[in-house]
Structures are given as C-alpha cells and as structure tokens.
C-alpha cells in the first residue's frame, strides 16, 4: 500500500495541477507506468506510479490544483481484494454542522470492493479473437460485413462501429468504378481494389505481337505499367516482382525506369533477385477473385493481384479486378492512391507503357 | 327493547338475511364443483349481525369489510347479480372480475370494498368518515372486522385515530370466536372485545349477534352518536360461523367441537327472527314463505346471470392500475 504524493519537480515549485489521469480506479498499475500528467510552472510532466499494484483511490481530480506533497492517489496491493476502506480512509473534510450538507463536499470518494481490480484485465486484447462492441455487430449485420476481415481500431484492438461502416463504405465505393482505399488497420496494412477493362491491354498485346512479331507476356506489360505508375506516384526507387506459375517471384530491381522490352527480356531470362522496398509484386494467379478474401502475406511487400471479376451478369470476360495490398513495407496510403490512379489511366490507354 | 321498525323494514331485514343464506349456499355449491375459483369465506350464521348493522345505516353511508365479504354488500342492499358475477370472475362483476370473492365492493350502495388483509380496512373506514366530515357530508362509516383482527396493529391505530378525532365510525367486531383455527381466548386475555374500547376512551357495547333486532338497535344508537359528532363506538356482536373458515378446505381441522356447532345452530339467526316476526310482529306464514322464496329466486337469477355473462378481456389485466 502506498500513498502517491504530488512530486516537486523544481526547487521553486510550490503546487501543481493534475491535468489528466491515465489510469482509472481499480486498474492494475506497474511501477513507473504513466499515472497522470501534472502541470507546474507552465510545464507538463508525466508522473509515473511509484510502485506496482492496483490504483485504489484517486484523491485529487483532474483540473484541481494542490500543493506539493499532497497525497494524490493510493496504490494498493493486488492481492488485497475487499478490505480496502477500514484503516486506509483518509480523513474526510469536516462537515458543516447543523446545516444540510452540500453533496459535493460531504461525500468522500473511495474505491471499494465493488470496483474489482480484475476489471482492469478486461481491457484490451487478450490475444484471442478481438472484442467487438455491440454497435459494431449490428453494423456488420446491417451492411453484411464479415467481422473476421475487419480490424479494430478501438481500445485494445476492439472492433468499433466505425471500423465496420468504414469497410462497408469502401466496399460499396469499390463496387462502383474507381479505386478506393480500404483501410484495414492503421499501421498494419491497407488494401485497394479497382476494376478495369482489360480489353485495351489485350488488344495492345495482339497488336504488338503483329508489329514486333514477338509475343509480350501480359505480365510484362503489367509490370511496365506498374513501373510507370510507381514513378507517377512519386516512388523514387523500387522493385517490381512477378509471381511465376510455380509460385516464385521474379524480381526486377530498380525497375521503375526499365522499358517494356527490357522487362520482358529479364522476365524471360529468369533472373531471381532479392526484393527491396518498396516492391510491388504483380500476381496474375488469382483467377476467380472474391472480394471478401484476402490472400497476401501482411509482412511482405505490396502485392498487386489481378483477377477476373466474379461479378456481373454481363461479364464480357475482359473485366478484371485489381487488388493492391500494401504492408508497412509497401507504398503508403497516399502513394498507393496516386499509383492506382495512374495505373488505371495506363490500363485504359496502355499505349503509354510503350514509352 | 322497543323496536321502531316499520313492517316494510322488517320484511326487508328478513329478505336480506334470506338472500345472504341462499347466496352462500349457492356459492358453496358452485365452489365445491370448481365453478368458483380461489378461497370462499361464507357467512352462514352471521346474517343477523350483518343485516342488523347494515340496516341501521343509510344507503349513502359508508361500509368497509373483510374477506368474509359476501354478506356485507348484500346487507347494505347491493344487487345480487353483480356480486355473483364477481364470484365467477366475469366482466359484469362489481369489480369487473378483478377482485373475486374476497374483494367485493359496490360503491353505489356505499360499500367501499372488502379488503382481505386482516385488519387493513379499519383505518380506511376511519378515513372515509374523516373525508365525509371534511366535505360537510352527514355520513357515517361502518367497519366490519373479525375477532382475529383485533390483534393487528391496524386495529389499534385505526380505532385510536377515530377516537381521538371523534370520527363518525361504527367499529363492528364480528366475534365468532375463532381466527381460522385459533380460538380467541388463546390470542388475547380480553375475550370481550368491547372492553378494549376503554383503551381508546370510546364506548364498547356487547350485543347478541344472532339477534338481528338487538344488533340493529345497538348500531343505531352508535350511528346516532356518530351523527351527533360524539365519535366512534366499538360494537361487539357475539356470533358464530356455521361453516368452515373457508369453503371446501378438504378436511376437518378439529378445532371446534361438534357439540359447540350444534349449540350455535340452535340459535340460527334466520330461524330466531322468523319466530319473532310471526310471533311478535304478526307476519303470516305466507308472507314469510314468500320472502324466502323471493330470496331463492333472486339468487337463482343472479347465478344464471353470472353464468351467462362474458369473461373479461385479457387486456383487462392492465386496466385500472392507474386512472
């Protein structure tokens, strides 16, 4: 059991104001863990817990100014459950005799048995499936979003309503023509989806074959398009990879500036080199791509998956869907947006990749 | 005792007593056959004190009673149809099927309700008297309760308040000697309940409950006292209940000797009054028989009415919780 006092940060400091408490009564605290912020002499200082245990009482509320060495909190032993109050109650302010007591002064706050310490452990991620707040579940049902693919941004990784509606919004946005970022989690990865008509690209391939008497692989053309788009997105230096049928990835380093024929030669040549970031891997091996599945390695680089769109009754066969999935090693969100914008323009009018 | 009752009043007195007896017989029978649900507390043997007391009041005077409730509103002049329909829980019952046997009430004849928590009506009766006086109404309040109720705190509190405020109440104790299976002498040292009146500074009067005219006389005196503003009276009617505490309880609890019941049956209030009517008041056999027959017919009519009446709607469970 320990009393925490308002520390004196400097010789001249006589008092301080509690700005905010970062723990609540009943929470487990570790020694040194940030307990509250104190402002004194125009400086805000983080005050750490002086010992480990359970925060039993907060005696000075946020916003209050007290002299140095005033007891501001009491940290109790974790093991002690119920018998908090008896010996440890600080003397309350003396009541005004006879007159009815003002409720604010008279009622002395204390943490008691009902505020159980184990409640603190219920906060945050336990490592099992993430918590989902009821509002989020409702939104998921309403918008037909699979919670398994939603990443939570709430406390401890909890899925909150906004996470679901955001995904639902991006799903519905992407179902129209246009790339839209699906932010699946800050700092983890993000995913973009875009539909495009592969007709122009296929036509160009045929024309090139006629003109050059040489067959250019679609992969090579896409890789070149990727290179141009990366350059447009302001990605100064990067590699382009192409996943082969056997699953391996052929990497073209510093590929942004490489022209189509060089790319095609190198891909045919079978060079396998290591990747450096940012890398975008072109993967044409997802034939029937359903928008609810994510198949990528979140620790790897960006992966640009092209698949034939499974939707649409009037599927002419040339409508493809692009899924760009970027990990922390891939392009960031704003780069990704520019990249896809440029990529779309190139795919609509692929002649530019010949430049 | 000089009887200042006109023939019509005497006829009505005998009629009400007969109606109570016939009503109770019919009710017991229907209850035994499962047609009436819940507990049924009959007043066989107590018709004298019930009718004697009620008929000392005007129609707009108030009355509060207890779980042994059928006789009280009948004595006060309530129509039988609504009472019997209430016993069957029908929507045409006086309480819309909400109260049943123990909670009859007919405000149109001043019956403010038979309350089944023992003793609970005593302060209410005092309150009715207070309310009447505050509104300048010349009304008295009659409260029926059993000997068992005098053990309840409510008896003490209600009688005391009526006494100290001189409220126009007649506290009528229907002393039939038992609270369910418990004899009065085992629950109090003062088995003449009227003596308890002294504790409150009001008159206590003992009267033969089987003698309807004696009861009428005693209550009338109390009513006049009350109307004069002299306060309440405690009238104790020594009476007896011929049937069990509640009908069809299933077994003989053996707390009353058969001889005792037989003795009291010799003093059946209906027979006693019949004898007096023919002997002292010149009623003919035909007249008496006609009254009895009419009573039976009235009960038959009430039973038929009750049987053909509709049950309340399910939604009625939620009405009259609030205004």
């Amino acid at each position: 059991m320990a009393e925490m006092v308002l520390p004196q940060f400097g010789m001249g400091m006589a008092d301080g104001t509690i700005i905010a408490w970062h723990k609540v009564v009943g929470e487990v605290v570790q020694q040194g863990e940030r307990l509250c912020d104190v402002e004194a002499a125009k400086t805000t200082v983080e005050v750490g817990a002086t010992c480990s245990g359970v925060l039993r009482q907060i005696l000075v509320a946020a916003g209050k100014n007290v002299p140095v060495n005033t007891v501001i909190a009491i940290i109790g032993d974790e093991a002690v459950g119920q018998n908090v109050a008896a010996a440890q109650v600080p003397p309350p302010p003396p009541p005004t005799p006879a007159a009815p007591i003002s409720v604010a002064e008279a009622l002395v706050p204390i943490a008691i048995a009902s505020e159980k310490p184990e409640a603190a452990q219920m906060r945050g991620h336990t490592g099992r499936t993430p918590q989902v707040e009821p509002r989020a579940r409702r939104a998921a049902r309403l918008h037909k979003v699979d919670l398994a693919v939603v990443v939570g941004t709430g406390p401890g990784g909890r899925i909150v309503e906004e996470d679901v509606t955001r995904r639902a919004q991006s799903l519905s946005d992407s179902s129209r023509a246009g790339a839209a970022p699906r932010n699946l989690g800050v700092g983890r990865f993000h995913q973009f989806r875009m539909r495009f008509d592969a007709g122009p690209l296929v036509n160009l391939a045929e024309e090139l074959a006629k003109f050059y008497h040489k067959t250019f692989l679609i992969e090579a053309m896409l890789a070149r398009a990727v290179g141009v788009a990366m350059s447009d997105a302001g990605i100064a230096d990067g590699s382009i990879g192409v996943r082969a049928d056997d699953g391996t990835v052929k990497v073209l380093q510093q590929a942004i500036a490489l022209g189509l024929t060089v790319i095609a030669d190198r891909l045919a040549g079978g060079e396998a080199m290591s990747m450096c970031s940012p890398t975008i891997v072109v993967d044409l091996h997802l034939e029937d791509w359903l928008d609810e599945t994510i198949s990528f390695d979140p620790t790897g680089p960006a992966s640009l998956t092209f698949g034939k769109s499974a939707r649409g009754a009037d599927d002419t066969g040339t409508e493809w869907t692009v899924l760009l999935t970027c990990s922390e090693q891939g392009p960031n969100v704003s780069q990704s947006k520019l990249f896809l914008k440029s990529l779309r323009e190139l795919l609509n009018s692929p002649v530019a990749i010949l430049v | 005792m000089k009887v200042n009752l006109a023939k019509a009043d005497l006829t009505e007195m005998y009629a009400r007593m007969s109606r109570i007896r016939a009503f109770e017989n019919a009710a017991m029978d229907m209850h035994a056959k499962g047609e009436i649900m819940g507990a049924l507390h009959t007043s066989h043997g107590q018709e004298g004190e019930i009718v004697g007391a009620c008929m000392a009041l005007n129609r707009d005077d108030y009355m509060v009673g207890n779980h042994r409730s059928h006789g009280h509103p009948i004595g006060k002049g309530a129509a039988l149809r609504g009472l019997m329909a209430e016993l069957l829980g029908k929507s045409t019952g006086v309480c819309g099927g909400k109260g049943g046997s123990m909670h009859l009430a007919d405000f149109s004849v001043g019956s403010l309700g038979e309350t089944s928590i023992v003793g609970s009506g005593i302060p209410v009766a005092a309150g009715a008297a207070l309310g009447a006086r505050m509104q300048g109404l010349d009304r008295v309040s009659l409260c029926f309760f059993g000997d068992g109720a005098t053990s309840e705190g409510a008896f003490h509190e209600g009688v005391n308040m009526a006494a100290v405020w001189h409220l126009p109440v007649i506290f009528l104790c229907e002393n039939n000697g038992y609270g369910i299976t418990t004899s009065l002498s085992s629950v109090t040292l003062v088995t003449d309940i009227a003596k308890k009146a002294a504790a409150y500074g009001i008159p206590g009067v003992i009267v033969d409950g089987q003698d309807v005219l004696a009861v009428h006389d005693a209550v009338q005196t109390a009513v006049q006292r009350a109307r004069r503003g002299e306060g309440p009276t405690l009238v104790e009617a020594k009476t007896y209940r011929y049937e069990e505490h509640a009908a069809n309880m299933g077994r003989d609890f053996g707390y009353r000797a058969e001889t005792e019941i037989a003795e009291w049956r010799k003093r059946d209030p209906l027979r006693l009054f019949r004898e007096r009517l023919s002997g002292d008041f010149g009623f003919s056999e035909d007249e008496l028989a006609a009254t009895e027959k009419a009573a039976l017919a009235a009960v038959d009519d009430a039973v038929a009415f009750a049987r053909r009446s509709p049950a309340p709607f399910a939604q009625s469970a939620f009405t009259d919780v609030f205004a």
């Binding site: 409720v103 009821p134 | 209600g158 100290v164």
Partner: protein, 322 residues
C-alpha cells in the same frame, strides 16, 4: 421569477394547491408545527382543519388518508423520514396501490405520500434509508424524485392533481438548493425526463440529488475532452425510457447514478431495460454508481464513503471509455 429553496418550493406547492382545491389537505406527525419548514403560513391561511397532526401510527395514517381519498378528498401525507414508510407497508401495498384495481375502477385514491431521505449525517442504519426502489416494483404507485427546487414544485403540483397515488421521495441534501421559480402556475408532467446537459460520448442518468454530482463529473470530463450527457428521469414511475434509450443510441455508453442501495436499485432496472432494448447501441458495459450494499453506520466518515461521489462517477465514465 423568484429564487426559492427546495423546501420553499415544497411549501409553495402545498400552499398554492390547497388554495386551488379545497379537497387538498395535509396530514402527518408534527405537521402543524412546521417541523421541516414546509407548512409555513398554511394554518393561518386555511385553518387547522386542513392540516392534521397525527399520532405515531404510520399504518393508521396511511389507511385514514386512503379512506378519505376514496370518498373525495386529496390528502398529502407527510411521512417525515423515508424509513417511516415501513410500518405503513401493508396499507401502501395492499390498500393504496391496489384499491383502484381490486375494486374494478370503483375506487379512486388520489393521495400523495411524501418522504424525506436524510442521510450522510450520522442518522445511522434505521433513519438513513433511500427506499424508493422497493416501491417501484409495486404496480399502482407513481414515484417522483425531484432533483432541484423548480422540479420539486412542478412535480408536487402534478402529484397533488393526479388521481393516482404518488410517492414523493425528497432528498434532504437538496433542502437549501436554490432555483429560479416562475411566479405563474406550472406543473411538470410525470414520465418526462429532463436532459440537464447534452453530450456525445457518454450518457449519465442520475436520480434525485445525484444529478448535482453527475453535473460536476460531467464538467470535469469536459476538461478532458469527453462530452457527457446528463439525464434526470424526474419520475421513476412512470419512467421515461425513450429519452434514455435515445441518448444511449447516440453515445453508446451509460452510467447510472443512484443513491439507493445497489442491489435491485432503480439503476438495476434501467440497466436491464437498456441491456435488452438498447443492447446493440452499446459500446461498453453499463456502469452503476450506487450506495454500497451494507447498512449505514453511525460514524459519518465511514458512512459517507458508501454513497456515490463525483470521483466514483468520473471513474465509471472512464471505464465506459476504456
């Protein structure tokens, strides 16, 4: 407009309603000597006949009031201290609450039972009760819990004018609280909660004197950037659940502050209703800040720790955000 205390508001409501309706009268122990200051001037204006001093007979008083009410009067019974309702339990539950229903609507019981909740002052276990939840359970009783003088007057007037039995639970800690009271007559309908403060992050429903604490807590949370909505139900029966549910639909978080004992408190009931009807709006478990489930000891320091406080409310709000 005039500034009046909670006690003055009670007195004014009684005085004005007695003038408005001759059926209204007061009964209670020590009513005439104006023990709490709620009957000043009433004897002079209306006479002794309309304010009755009663023997110490709570059951008898209640029954007499009920009988008088059934025949046309409108008594206002002063129980003085809330636990004194207990001796009258049978009359309240078996007669007052039930007569209208039991007798199929023939009986009308337009009375008001007023009780003060005096606690935090060393009244000890038998005098410090806050028992309104017990009566919430019984159908047929309306219950008001005014949090300020304006509401006290408006609700008491409605109670007196209401044809149903009303129990008024008045917190003695509010006696000297002041509000602006209009000169013109006004009555506050039952079943209408007051939103004392709007907010978006957390709903705090506070009962009676707890509203003051909730507002303090809300102000403190404001400084931390948390916007708290405070709702005062004003009446527990009827209870304005729609306003509470609407607020929870907005904020997703609920803290209930109730000075009654936690077990089977009004907070318990509201929590259960919101759990069922507003579950999908929630972002966090519903929190309750109530009096600890123990008796009230004499020592005031030990006593006062048991009741809700601003800090406990703040802690509860923080938990809903965690």
């Amino acid at each position: 407009m005039a500034e009046k205390t909670y006690l003055e508001a009670i007195r004014d409501a009684l005085f004005e309603e007695m003038g408005r309706d001759p059926a209204v009268f007061i009964m209670g122990e020590d009513a005439r000597c104006n023990f709490f200051g709620t009957t000043s001037g009433i004897i002079e204006a209306y006479g002794l006949e309309r304010i009755l001093d009663c023997p110490i007979a709570e059951a008898g008083i209640t029954g007499v009031a009920a009988g008088a009410a059934m025949v046309g009067m409108r008594p206002v019974v002063d129980f003085t201290i809330a636990p004194f309702l207990y001796p009258a339990m049978d009359q309240i539950c078996s007669i007052v609450a039930k007569s209208r229903y039991l007798y199929g609507g023939q009986a009308k019981v337009p009375l008001v039972l007023r009780a003060n909740m005096i606690y935090g002052n060393g009244g000890a276990a038998q005098h410090s009760d806050r028992p309104y939840p017990m009566f919430m359970s019984m159908p047929g009783l309306k219950i008001m819990v005014p949090s300020n003088p304006y509401d006290m007057k408006g609700l008491l007037k409605t109670a007196i004018r209401d044809d149903d039995p009303v129990m008024s639970f008045e917190d003695a800690n509010l006696w000297s609280m002041k509000s602006e009271i209009p000169d013109a007559d006004y009555a506050i309908p039952f079943g209408q909660a007051a939103i004392k403060r709007t907010g978006n992050d957390c709903t705090v429903v506070a009962i009676g004197a707890m509203v003051t604490l909730a507002m303090e807590a809300a102000a403190l949370m404001e400084a931390e950037g948390v916007s708290v909505e405070v709702i005062d139900p004003r009446t527990l029966v009827p209870l304005d659940m729609p306003t509470i549910l609407e607020s929870v639909a907005k904020t997703g978080r609920l803290v209930l502050v109730d000075v009654a004992w936690e077990r089977c408190s009004a907070a318990d009931h509201i929590s259960a209703v919101v759990s069922e009807e507003g579950f999908w709006d929630l972002r966090a478990p519903i929190m309750k800040v109530c009096t600890e489930n123990t008796h009230i000891p004499f020592n005031t320091a030990v006593e006062r720790q048991l009741y809700p406080s601003c800090d406990r409310i703040v802690a509860a709000i923080r938990k809903t955000l965690a």
